[in-house]
């Protein structure tokens, strides 16, 4: 990759390079604009380079500091605070570039950080209201009051299925923002009410948010289908089973062909606009290598791309919602999105924002299930935010650690030298040479990442800097310093769930696996080969696919399991609303995935048990159960014990199922240690050190378990 970046750097030496992640019509429009720029500026050369969105930011962060970055790049505004602090981007004031006025004020505001502007806005994205013209021939309601009043009258599709008035991801924090802003609330309690979300402390629990939560709860319970995931609400809208959908311009590409739809701004709440978050795509100037001057042509190109003519082309050819008010939009859909964007609030650049998503989402999930009150949900969101955003552990003095590490290193080297001196290495040189590649690969792929991970657990990331904190992360975790032991966030509570999860799974895996293997051995079972192949299938299918299938099977409204229960006259179960049912749903999924392994191991082990032994027991007077208990199972034990140890370790760390099926619901109570570690690393403000400490503790728990189980197995093995 470094070589590639080097090559890109060389290739870009005498032309303007522009990195972006646009595709399809947007990319074609951008390339046409670059051609226009070259035509208007003889001698100028522009090289646009499309890079996959997932890797663009990582490539920018790697290439720009090494002088291998582009001259300009296009990205969302969300990283401005970070990149400006790291000096990856240059300030780019609209006035200085000579850019004409006409930018959407909210878009310009989004790019301002610490008093300066850091890019020129190109496009904007925000939520808006999609509506089905056939179901709402008179257009969508203008106010939330109308919407809620109409919602009382259910509509029914010709096939008898219910038509939902509104569908949207009601438990998503991103989708809650418009209502929080409409009731005068929000994330940050700005001192100046006319400029919401620009400064101030995070106050999720304030009364205005309680009002918003009450509104959201009403919509969830009266209008929106239960457990509305993104995929589900899109499907309902596309099938004509939802009259309205709240989504963003990204949904335009997924809309069913032939569906007559319109887009309108979100309904107002008590006369106040519902302002969603605004994401601004902007062109940025990459900082030149140290000592080099910025190419003035880059700013010129940026101004051209963001200018009125450029915007016109991007809008007409690229179907983009451009960030200008002076470019007329003929397309009513684009016009509606633009209208909504103008009223939207730029997504704050404040780093505290990252720690608000999970607390809000958790409160919303509980609230929209009908549990708790809006007051409680708002208060809990604030409490959870305060826990997640608590100050990082204080820096520790690394000197004693370095001395200890040094002594340990020297002792290790001395030991190694002694072992090498004692071992007849010369005599076995050939053998060592054969082993060396595998040893090297193991060191590189297993040992080194493990050591790095373990080392990370002694640090914490503060802004851009790693601070040495010693054992603070471990102590915080093990002493449950930040929350009560009974909180789902605490290590001990999660460990208890993890152990329960592992034990239940292993018991079911072994029980079902052994039972099926014994059944498949019976001579009276016909088509044994077919059954054997069919029963191994769950194992052969990638686990995340199975997890998603089961997740859908457990859906409260549309899942097959509730349909089956309904057919049997049993009331539908909201599977992810309580710990026991959510845990059972996870357990079902993982049992489905796990029993084939035990069945295959048992089938293999059964081959090695002589039939004579069971016949001897039969003649000795043992019935079926006694033969199983006294002869077959003890004989299976030597093969099953290692499988059980392996199965327990896999289950203990079965991230996929927890993350994809219950997602930790309800309220994080079904999280296991590994998913908890993931959340600390990636959804709770990048607490990498804390998450690494979790990982090291998980390793320790499994090491102790493995040693104990091996010792037990050693005694039992025949």
């Amino acid at each position: 990759m470094i070589a590639l970046l080097g090559w890109i750097g060389v290739a870009a030496a005498d032309e303007l390079t522009l990195w972006h992640a646009w595709r399809g019509e947007e990319r074609a429009a951008l390339e046409a604009l670059c051609d226009q720029y070259e035509a208007a500026h003889p001698g100028a050369a522009v090289a646009p380079l499309a890079i996959p969105y997932e890797s663009l930011s990582a490539k920018l962060e790697a290439a720009i500091p090494r002088g291998n970055g582009p001259d300009l790049f296009i990205f969302a505004h969300e990283r401005v605070a970070d990149w400006s602090a790291r000096e990856l981007i240059l300030p780019l004031e609209p006035q200085e570039t000579g850019a004409d006025s006409g930018f959407m004020p909210s878009a310009l505001a989004a790019l301002r950080w610490e008093g300066r502007s850091w890019g020129l806005p190109l496009g904007v994205k925000s939520l808006a209201l999609f509506y089905n013209r056939a179901l709402l021939p008179e257009g969508p309601p203008q106010t939330i009051e109308e919407l809620l009043a109409d919602g009382q009258a259910d509509q029914t599709a010709p096939d008898g299925k219910k038509i939902y008035r509104l569908a949207y991801e009601v438990a998503s924090a991103y989708h809650a923002a418009p209502w929080m802003h409409a009731t005068g609330g929000g994330i940050f309690d700005s001192a100046d009410p006319s400029q919401p979300e620009t400064d101030g402390p995070v106050r999720l629990g304030r009364p205005a948010n309680v009002a918003a939560f009450a509104l959201i709860r009403r919509m969830a319970l009266e209008l929106v289908p239960p457990e509305p995931s993104g995929a589900l609400v899109n499907q309902l809208f596309n099938e004509g089973r939802a009259a309205m959908l709240i989504s963003g311009p990204w949904f335009l590409g997924e809309i069913a062909s032939g569906l007559s739809f319109g887009v309108a701004p979100l309904p107002t709440v008590a006369g106040r606009p519902a302002a969603p978050w605004l994401t601004v795509e902007a062109v940025f100037l990459a900082a030149p290598p140290a000592g080099a001057a910025a190419d003035p042509a880059a700013a010129d190109l940026a101004r051209f791309l963001a200018g009125a003519a450029g915007s016109q082309l991007r809008q007409n050819q690229g179907r983009q919602i451009v960030a200008r008010t002076d470019v007329p939009a003929a397309d009513p859909v684009l016009a509606a999105f633009r209208e909504q964007a103008a009223a939207a609030i730029p997504m704050p650049l404040n780093p505290a924002m990252a720690q608000t998503w999970e607390p809000l989402a958790r409160s919303l999930r509980r609230l929209t299930r009908g549990a708790g009150t809006p007051e409680l949900a708002a208060a809990e969101a604030q409490t959870a935010y305060e826990i997640l955003s608590r100050p990082l552990p204080p820096a520790a003095d690394p000197a004693p650690w370095l001395i200890a590490a040094g002594i340990a290193g020297i002792a290790g080297l001395a030991w190694l030298a002694r072992e090498i001196a004692r071992a007849p290495i010369r005599a076995w040189a050939f053998a060592y040479a054969w082993v060396a590649p595998a040893f090297g690969a193991m060191t590189l792929l297993t040992l080194a990442p493990f050591l790095v991970g373990a080392a990370v657990s002694l640090f914490e990331l503060q802004g851009q800097d790693w601070t040495f904190v010693g054992f603070s992360n471990f102590l915080d975790i093990l002493l449950a310093r930040d929350f009560p032991v009974t909180s789902p966030l605490s290590f001990w509570s999660t460990l208890l769930v993890t152990v329960l999860w592992t034990v239940c799974n292993v018991v079911l895996h072994v029980g079902i696996g052994v039972a099926l293997a014994l059944l498949l051995r019976e001579p009276w079972v016909r088509l044994r080969g077919v059954f054997r192949a069919a029963l191994i299938l769950p194992w052969a299918i990638p686990s995340y696919i199975t997890a998603l299938i089961w997740k859908n099977l457990f859906h409260a409204q549309f899942g097959a399991i509730n349909a089956l229960l309904g057919a049997l006259g049993i009331a539908p179960v909201s599977w992810f609303a309580s710990f026991s049912t959510a845990f059972a749903a996870n357990l079902c999924t993982n049992t489905w995935l796990g029993f084939p392994f035990m069945m295959v191991v048992t089938l293999g082990a059964l081959q090695s048990i002589p039939r004579d032994l069971e016949e001897a027991a039969e003649v000795d007077g043992a019935d079926g159960w006694q033969r199983l208990r006294h002869v077959t199972l003890p004989m299976l034990a030597p093969a099953l014990l290692p499988a059980v140890i392996l199965g327990s370790v896999w289950t203990f760390n079965m991230f996929n199922i927890i993350y994809l099926v219950s997602g930790g619901e309800p309220d994080g109570s079904t999280e296991i240690l590994i998913s908890q570690a993931y959340r600390w690393a990636f959804t709770r403000g990048h607490r990498y050190g804390y998450a690494s400490a979790y990982a090291v503790i998980i390793f320790g728990v499994l090491l102790i378990y493995g040693r104990a189980a091996n010792r037990l197995a050693g005694k039992k093995v025949i």
């Binding site: 032994l613 016949e615 039969e618 003649v619 007077g621 006694q626 006294h630 004989m635 025949i718």
Partner: protein
């Protein structure tokens, strides 16, 4: 102790019939040996007694009670397997007491100690099977059968995995035990020495068909067919097809007596017991000599004038070499087509 009756027992696997109408009565306390070549159905018959194989037709009775549909555990029989089938995860004591423990039998410990004493296993009771020799494992397998005091003992080739010396030793032990316990016993083997030495009566099977039932002496001295004659006796009987037209002549090695060349007997004097008129002495050449110490087995080839076929003879002392004369002290005559014994008045 019990009687055992087979009434027209048949067993088929699909269209393959492996037992053909077996009729047999075993008296209380009798030691019956089922013998025959591999695949003759002897183990199937034994397993049918144990209840491990279903009977296709016919009736099996233990103590006069029909047991065809009884599961093994309700038949009160004990079986010793060829592989010993000791439970590897249990000690010797646990192996031996297993059946009684399942019944919560009050005398479990006493019975195990008693059986261990009978078999010399007292010091091995706390060992696992993997810590025992083949012979010891065999004894444990027997001990497991003994402690139950069943109505019938079943042995399925129990000595076939042991070396010759141990086999002989255990053979004697089994015989002694059975005599002491007096339990009705059915014993399967393909080794006719075991059959001869152990049995009160031997049952010979071939291809699922019962060939002959009788005491060891009856089968040895009065075989009813060429198959029985060839199967019983070691080394086996020689069969001469060309000596007498239209008849297969069977001669046991013991009955082929070597006569020194030039001895008076050669002169044509009648020899008592020589059954074949016109063949008083046969000329032959010694091809191979197997020296067994006190005695030797001679592999002879008869002269072309006597059919030129191989014949075995047993001699004591220094074996002769080269050309010899053979006197046949006793012969058995069989129909070459059916293998049935041809009995002529006045001949053995």
């Amino acid at each position: 102790m019990a009687t055992l009756e087979f009434l027209g027992i048949e067993k088929s696997y699909g269209s393959v019939r492996v037992l053909h109408r077996v009729d047999l009565s075993v008296a209380d306390g009798e030691f019956i040996v089922l013998v025959g070549p591999s695949g003759c159905g002897k183990s199937t018959l034994l397993r049918a007694i144990a209840g491990l194989e279903e009977i296709t037709s016919g009736e099996l009775r233990i103590d006069g009670r029909r047991v065809n549909d009884l599961p093994p555990k309700d038949r009160d029989v004990a079986m010793v397997f060829q592989s010993y089938a000791l439970y590897p995860h249990m000690t010797v004591r646990e192996n031996m007491s297993f059946a009684l423990r399942l019944q919560n039998h009050p005398e479990t410990a006493a019975r195990v100690d008693q059986a261990a004493e009978m078999l010399g296993l007292q010091k091995l009771l706390d060992r696992f099977p993997r810590e025992l020799s083949g012979g010891q494992r065999q004894r444990v397998a027997m001990g497991r059968a003994i402690v139950r005091r069943p109505k019938i003992f079943l042995f399925d080739e129990p000595l076939s995995n042991l070396d010759a010396a141990l086999r002989q030793q255990l053979r004697v032990e089994i015989k002694r035990l059975q005599a002491a316990l007096g339990t009705t016993t059915v014993y399967v083997t393909h080794d006719q020495i075991e059959a001869m030495t152990l049995a009160d009566r031997i049952v010979i099977l071939q291809g699922g068909v019962l060939q002959q039932i009788g005491t060891p002496d009856q089968l040895y001295f009065d075989p009813q067919s060429r198959f029985v004659a060839g199967f019983i006796g070691s080394p086996s009987m020689s069969f001469l097809e060309k000596l007498e037209p239209g008849v297969t002549v069977g001669v046991r090695p013991n009955d082929a007596r070597i006569v020194a060349p030039g001895s008076p007997a050669i002169q044509g004097a009648p020899i008592p017991g020589v059954p074949l008129p016109g063949v008083p002495l046969l000329g032959a050449t010694v091809e191979v000599t197997e020296r067994l110490g006190f005695e030797s087995m001679l592999h002879l080839r008869l002269d072309a004038a006597h059919g030129g076929e191989p014949l075995m003879a047993r001699v004591e002392g220094e074996p002769p070499r080269g050309r010899v004369s053979v006197a046949l002290d006793r012969c058995y005559r069989f129909d070459p087509a059916t293998g049935a014994r041809i009995r002529d008045a006045g001949r053995a």
